[in-house]
Amino acid sequence: MEKHSAALDAAEAGGTKLITVTVRIRRFNPEEHPDPVWVDYQLEMDPKERVLDALNKIKWEQDGTLTYRRSCAHGICGSDAMRINGRNRLACKTLLKDVNPEKPITIEAIKGLTVLKDLIVDMDPFFQAYKDVMPFLITKGNEPTRERLQSAEDRERFDDTTKCILCAACTSSCPVFWNDGQYFGPAAIVNAHRFIFDSRDEGAEQRLEILNDREGVWRCRTTFNCSEACPRGIEVTKAIQEVKRALVTRRF
């Protein structure tokens, strides 16, 4: 074909060059020992592979006790949020070449949720906060015979927050959440936003009252950690600001 960029040539190049990577993982298994410990693993990897591929290679070839959650392996299911080099990311959406593989790559569980084993945290408080904002369409009156109409513009209004995959990367990157586990956290607010700004929904007042709580949106200190952490590129902080504004103006 005519159009052949350098990037395409690089993507198609055969004979990949493997590099030696050190992966430094914060291991924790209370069945074995009460304290966490950092363990280094060395392995040969193609830098274009994912961090998840490196974890799999360790588990499958070196240490079967290494424990983490994973499923889809391409950034859709939200299972494998973890702290990689100090930043929350999905292991399956992070390529080794993008996290400075010449130095040890550090991997630990996301913060603010109880670590149960290695990279696995207790997700129940996270999902409880989600459930508390009534994350479902609330309507009054009889259902229409056909679909509810919604203009493309009205649909676009809340498009960003429909992308959430509930991976907890945002909530567990939030310093307020680290210090106060009762704070709803960014993900719950994102999912409230998704309905508050849906033109079909009639439950915005109820949700706003829930988020007007002491542990609601006003705890947000606008540090933007959540927006940086979101693997789906959701402008989380902006969404929280829009919910705050809606609380003040009662317009949504």
Partner: protein
Amino acid sequence: MQIHQYDTVIVGAGGAGMRAAIESTQRSRTAVLTKLYPTRSHTGAAQGGMCAALANVEEDNWEWHTFDTVKGGDYLVDQDAAEIMCKEAIDAVLDLEKMGLPFSRTEQGRIDQRRFGGHSRNHGEAPVRRSCYAADRTGHMILQTLFQNCVKHGVEFFNEFYVLDLLINEGRTAGVVAYELATGEIHVFQAKAVVFASGGTGKMFKVSSNAHTLTGDGQAVAYRRGLPLEDMEFFQFHPTGIWRMGILLTEGARGEGGILRNKDGERFMERYAPVMKDLASRDVCSRAIYTEIREGRGCGPDGDHVYLDLTHLPPEQLDAKLPDITEFARTYLGIEPYTDPIPIQPTAHYAMGGIPTNVEGEVLRNNTDVVPGLYAAGEVACVSVHGANRLGTNSLLDINVFGRRAGLAAAGFADANDFVPLPENPEQLVQNLVDSLRESTGTESVAQIRKELQESMDANAMVYRTGATLKQAVEDIAALKERYKNVSIQDKGFRYNTDLLEAIELGNLLDLAEVLAVSALAREESRGGHYREDFPTRDDVKFMQHTMAYQEVAADGSTSIRLDYKPVVTTRYQPMERKY
């Protein structure tokens, strides 16, 4: 060990399981047991849409959709079931919209629709806009919407509970046995009705669009309890997976105007499917791609892939309609799909076969009789609405239509019947399985056996098959099963033992791969997703019937596969030659 009692137990929390749970929770005391947290299921990876003849953007009707489904399945579809699915498709989409699903919209504010492979106007005249979608995130939106409605209805989930056995007593469903991942504890769930909705088996192949977790758990459990598996030789290879990685790039990309090209830049599908071109059915496109590669027209230094070309489409269209797949190309290949074609190859995608059911979702124990109280829906099941090749979007439709039906039927059964007693020592089989793996001192590695299985399946049982390659697969699997007996794990603990979990999953994959290969070897014809180079034509006289595979256990405990066949239900459409 703990014992629980529920009217209805649903196994799996993907689209089919949650759709069933929304119905059954409102009518019976329901527990959903799921290996993963609910929104982690692979329903969320579906992209392009869900077809229904809403006729929002052009003339359409459910009968055309039924015809396309039957033709797409190469006449192995049970036509009564396809008719139900295509009729109920319209309400299934409208129900999702009413539940809150944020569909992409037309200028009039209606649900927008786009073209998809194999979906046509008036019995094959031209492509039709039938797929209802939300950008290229339709599966994600369905999964989220169903989970949101499960929250609304207070569905009770048991997260990270892995179901490892089905209990049948006095010929009726008595419950299931599950392993709790967090603690290693075994739980017996006594239930009047059980719905299996545990998904597919795509991890038996190496290049696969499937999640790591798709290991055919439900199929394997049912099979080991003596229930048949239907049409397992029919496996779909999606034409456009990211080269070598297998990550799905939606057919919606071609629905939006994307084109498959070989190394000469030629739009080669014109030669294989003059009318539907790039929107021919998936089996046709995947074979065409491999033919191009085999005949030396593949791309790249090794000529082992082709291109999905979106470069002629306006960037605004890609941003609005295909934001996720263009991002995948950027993330995983480092290319810019506005200007670069995307290297792709066929990827293992979907099991057409599975646990046989009737249109109410009731599981069949032979060609005619059901197991009272047992239901299955979604990819784990075979109704059969997909026949020998599933049309794009019809899986999202299947999970909604038959998930709902199974949920209603299960709750109805639970309402009308009492519990059957649990068998003696109900946990025994699972306890033995878990103990033997945890205590094994064998020398074989799970990862190594799984790798060899996947490599053999890719080499021998993929898009092109012959008697010789399938025999090779059968031999390879038999050898791997022997080695599996000597497998051991490193993690001996009880807390989140995913090492143990992977070992059990591999056992499931081995059994199901064997069923696939043996069923495929016996089917000496080519139909839909099953293509035999040594039998390149469809043989309606001998093989217009469903394969039913049973596990036979000999007195010494050794197992073998017995194949039987079941007639296809034909109502409106007599088999014709399949052209696109």
